[in-house]
């Protein structure tokens, strides 16, 4: 018997669009699983239901070349019995499939040794509500995206440039419930516009992300990327070495995003975090403070974790001193702390992570940073960032899509791209100025709230051909 309705669709412009399952339908799936699980012998059962309805229009060479839509509902079931637990996941929603998935999770659990750390599932929790579902975003059609893309591509063509990028929109929801009465649900919308403008041999890039598509300004982003690409056509080659850099927010995001797992209590317990033996010490500059805050108005994501524990706001770094970590229930018990609501769905080996980093920014601006710089480099974006040294947190990567020389307070020319090998710890000791933090999107880290930064002695090790 099919318990979830077939996709309900309603007319919305020329093409149809999907609606998410209603809260009642979502809860109905969870209740069905919990009812079926009672007859399988599982002592405890947890159910996650995740649904996405996403569309993405992709363009290159000034035209759309890919245009996709997907709709997926997954049901993930964790059975626990006798100190053993395991997970099984399906996207088939009929009762036979759900029963088979429950039995699979139970069978997996029976096959493993007892886990002495396994805790009983949590009971009912209280949640702060957070609303990030915007009807205007849910209503976006392929024609809407195509028209916006066409405007950007036409702008490129008029300037003798070539545009490539994406315009995506969609909605998702997640719910978790368990046999001890816990239930939590959350939905949100999302939209992104990313554009690379190419003017041979240069390119530049701009991107925006918001739950509200009305915050996305494709034409403005195209114009900004186009102007920077034009500025970057003629490049000079500088010698590698230590330079003052002005990192635009996307460059900051994609770098500091690599710090997030170091703040997991499990990473510290496993001795693979750069914060081992460094908690409570002056590690970064006194102007660096970081919180994890899912409720921040510029953040997104569910206000509960993989076990349904409410997320807490956590002060991770206070004036350069690492103050606290985030904890799942398991790592909290091991450390005799309270869980902070950051655990991943069980069972897993990674524990938890802060997913909603917010940097406390400054009061400068990129323009002021440029004006205050005798000689330095303005960095649009970084690329292919990877960890070289996990304890000193040395990262390598490339500059990309617009690297500019600043001399005597002005941008004077574009320069060829550099490779960097830079310790994030040292970088966050050397921050001279920051802008107010803004919701930022890049290509290597998930979205966070970060400022632009002016940083001294940033280490570029080699130069590439363009």
């Amino acid at each position: 018997m099919t318990i979830a309705p077939s996709a309900r669709r309603k007319s919305g412009g020329k093409t149809e669009r999907a609606e998410l399952l209603s809260p009642r339908e979502l809860q109905g799936i969870i209740e069905t699983v919990l009812r079926l699980a009672k007859s399988t012998g599982a002592a405890e059962t947890e159910v996650h239901v995740d649904e996405v309805a996403d569309a993405l229009t992709r363009f290159a060479n000034n035209g759309i070349h890919q245009n996709v839509f997907e709709r997926v509902v997954t049901v993930s079931i964790r059975a626990a019995t006798g100190g053993r637990t395991a997970r099984a996941t399906t996207n088939r929603l009929d009762e036979d499939s759900l029963r088979a998935t429950i039995e699979a999770s139970l069978s997996l659990a029976h096959s493993r040794p007892r886990d002495p750390r396994l805790l009983a599932m949590p009971g009912k929790q209280r949640y702060h509500t957070v609303s990030r579902f915007v009807r205007a975003t849910a209503a976006v059609t392929p024609e809407d995206r195509a028209r916006a893309v066409r405007i950007a591509c036409d702008l490129a063509a008029r300037k003798g440039q070539v545009a490539a990028g994406i315009f995506s929109s969609g909605m998702s929801q997640t719910a978790v419930g368990n046999s001890r009465g816990l239930f939590a649900a959350y939905n949100e919308t999302h939209s992104q516009f990313s554009i690379t403008m190419q003017e041979d041999p240069a390119a530049s890039w701009a991107k925006a992300d918001s739950p509200d598509v009305r915050d996305i300004r494709p034409q403005k982003l195209a114009k900004r990327a186009g102007e920077k690409a034009h500025l970057a056509v003629k490049t000079k080659e500088l010698a590698p070495g230590r330079h003052t850099v002005i990192l635009e927010p996307a460059a900051v995001l994609d770098l500091v995003g690599f710090l997030f797992y170091d703040f997991a209590a499990t990473a510290v317990q496993d001795q693979r975090s750069c914060l081992n033996h460094r908690m409570g010490k002056q590690l970064f500059g006194k102007n660096i403070s970081i919180v994890d805050d899912v409720f921040h108005p510029l953040q997104k994501g569910a206000p509960f974790d993989g076990e349904g524990i409410p997320r807490q706001k956590v002060l991770l770094v206070d004036k350069g001193v690492p103050k606290d970590l985030v904890y799942s229930r398991t790592s909290a018990k091991a450390a005799r702390k309270k869980p902070t609501g950051h655990g991943f769905a069980l069972p897993n080996e990674y524990g938890e992570a802060p997913m909603n980093l917010v940097f406390i920014g400054g009061d400068s601006s990129v323009e002021k940073m440029v004006a205050s710089t005798d000689r330095g480099l303005l960095v649009t974006r970084l690329w292919y960032i990877r960890e070289v040294d996990p304890y000193e947190k040395v990262m390598t990567g490339m500059t990309r899509d617009g690297l500019f020389l600043v001399e005597n307070g002005k941008v004077t020319s574009a320069v060829k791209n550099f490779r960097f090998n830079q310790s994030l710890i040292d970088m966050l000791k050397n921050v001279e100025l920051m802008t107010p933090a803004a919701r930022t999107t890049g290509e290597e880290s998930f979205e966070m709230v970060v400022p632009a930064m002016k940083v001294r002695d940033f280490h570029f090790s080699e130069v590439t051909k363009f």
Binding site: R71, T74, N91, R117, E143, P347, W383, Y384, T464
Partner: protein, 486 residues
């Protein structure tokens, strides 16, 4: 499944599609990990659904659904056509597909032991036993082991009459030991980092690895690295172990030859390529001993890039990429083949799942074996550094400048490995590096390595690719920059 596929194609045609193809897929996966003597992840999953790709008004549209009723699939097909018509509002030129024959076929990748039929207790017992061996070694602070198994059924039907069923069984396994001492984290992995070896094989892959024999050595090397000398900074002779060379091929040959990158279709995310169309058959990519192919055929081996047909219904092929050092070929699809003068796709369209559009992907991009015995290669190297097992990797968005570091290095003096080096790294410019290759080992030391985590496309897709490699030697390479204090 075939009824649903046909239903989707019929509906697409009815709504105005001039071409359509449909992929129904059923993916099953099992993930097992252990850490520090305890089971970590223990999960299995399945995903089933259908993706419909159409050409209408000269433009592409794609829609997917996991509701496998006739009504939902028909709605999905109609939606794909509507999306294609929206694409036409901003199309640049009409899509033209290279001709291809229609195929009706069924194929299953060969395996000896179905990993889903092996008792979980057996699999977990092996992981925990290997974990236990590593934890016996003093100085080891974190031990990790993993297995991953996938079984993928796909039903492909296209409006030119193809109807192809394929079943692939994929296995992966690896172990790793980490040591934190004195403000330094060191790690060793086997048989490769980031999850070990992955191949189009059954459980026989896991059994072939000999985890229990390797666990102690892996752990001892992780602990010993703290006392090892640091890799020097210099220009010198570099020997790469096969597992590191596999990733070098992936990044500095495999990605630049993707024709969608070359044509600017990936400019916004994955990047472009230095291999512009004027370079074909002209560029001296590498030294004359270097021969590289993109080979998806089973004859090449059971790699992550092995199949019978790609996800556009084109049979698996072997394409010369570099022949005696000269650049000879790209990875193409039916849409782009004509742009490089081909009358047929090279068969490299691959999709992660039913809800993703197929895109140009590496198959098995492999360096063919050379003529050297490994012992002779070492003996012939008076002064060099051998680097083994990747630790970090990075390359610019046009694939010129790269930097890799590995878990361990070995100093070669007078033709012998004389001591361990920690924090090894090397960097360079792609064509300069490959032109400096002066020795490649024989087939006896050649392995078809699996890279299971190649990300590309928007929305992002993760794909497994294969890279055959034997140890090889490179001259005058820049070494040690990543850890430079300057």
């Amino acid at each position: 499944m075939w009824d649903l596929c046909t239903n989707a194609l019929d509906t697409a045609k009815l709504h105005g599609a001039s071409y359509g193809d449909v992929r129904a897929m059923h993916l099953r996966q099992r993930d097992l990990t252990a850490k520090n003597g305890q089971v970590g992840t223990l999960a299995q999953s399945e995903s089933i659904g259908i993706g419909v790709r159409v050409l209408a008004s000269g433009a592409w549209g794609f829609a997917s659904t996991d509701r496998l009723t006739r009504e939902s699939v028909a709605a999905c097909a109609a939606q794909a056509v509507a999306i294609a018509k929206a694409s036409a509002l901003a199309k640049r030129s009409k899509v033209v597909l290279a001709p291809e024959k229609a195929y009706v076929d069924s194929w299953q990748s060969p395996f000896r032991k179905d990993p889903f039929e092996i008792p979980l207790e057996t699999q977990l017992a092996l992981l925990l036993a290997a974990d236990g061996e590593m934890r016996k070694v003093k100085g080891v602070t974190l031990t990790e082991t993993n297995m991953q198994f996938r079984k993928i059924d796909s039903w492909f039907e296209s409006s030119i009459g193809s109807r192809i069923h394929q079943r692939k069984v994929i296995s992966g396994c690896g172990i790793a030991a980490t040591s934190f001492q004195g403000g330094e984290i060191q790690k060793r992995s086997y048989p490769n980092s980031f999850g070990g070896q992955h191949a189009l094989e059954g459980y026989e892959l896991v059994e072939s690895l000999g985890l229990m024999k390797q666990a102690e050595r892996v752990a001892e090397e992780a602990a010993a690295l703290h006392a090892a000398a640091p890799c020097p900074e210099k220009f010198g002779t570099l020997i790469l172990a096969g597992n590191q060379l596999g990733l070098q091929i992936h990044e500095s040959i495999g990605h630049p030859i993707e024709l969608d990158r070359v044509l600017g279709q990936e400019a916004n995310f994955a990047g472009t390529s230095f291999l512009t169309l004027d370079q074909l058959n002209k560029l001296k990519y590498a030294s004359t001993i270097v021969n590289v192919v993109a080979d998806a055929r089973l004859d090449h081996g059971r790699g992550l890039g092995t199949f019978a047909y790609d996800d556009e219904g084109v049979p698996a092929q072997c394409t010369d990429i570099i022949k005696e050092g000269k650049f000879r070929g790209y990875l193409s699809n039916r849409e782009t083949a004509h742009l490089i003068g081909l009358d047929r796709s090279s068969g490299t369209m691959r999709t992660e799942s039913w809800n993703r559009l197929p895109i140009i992907r590496m198959t098995n991009v492999s360096l063919l074996p050379g003529s050297w015995d490994y012992d002779d290669l070492l003996a012939d190297t008076p002064d060099g550094i051998l680097m083994d097992t990747n630790r970090s990797w990075s390359i610019d968005d046009r694939r010129y400048q790269f930097q890799f570091s590995t878990e361990v290095g070995w100093e070669i003096k007078g033709g012998k490995k004389v001591r361990m080096l920690k924090n090894p790294s090397y960097s360079g410019i792609t064509t300069e590096f490959w032109n400096s290759c002066d020795a490649i080992c024989k087939f006896d030391d050649w392995t078809l390595w699996g890279t299971p985590n190649c990300g590309k496309g928007q929305p992002m897709q993760t794909m497994g690719t294969g890279h055959g490699a034997a140890p090889a030697r490179f001259r005058n390479v820049r070494i040690g920059t990543a850890f430079s204090k300057q």
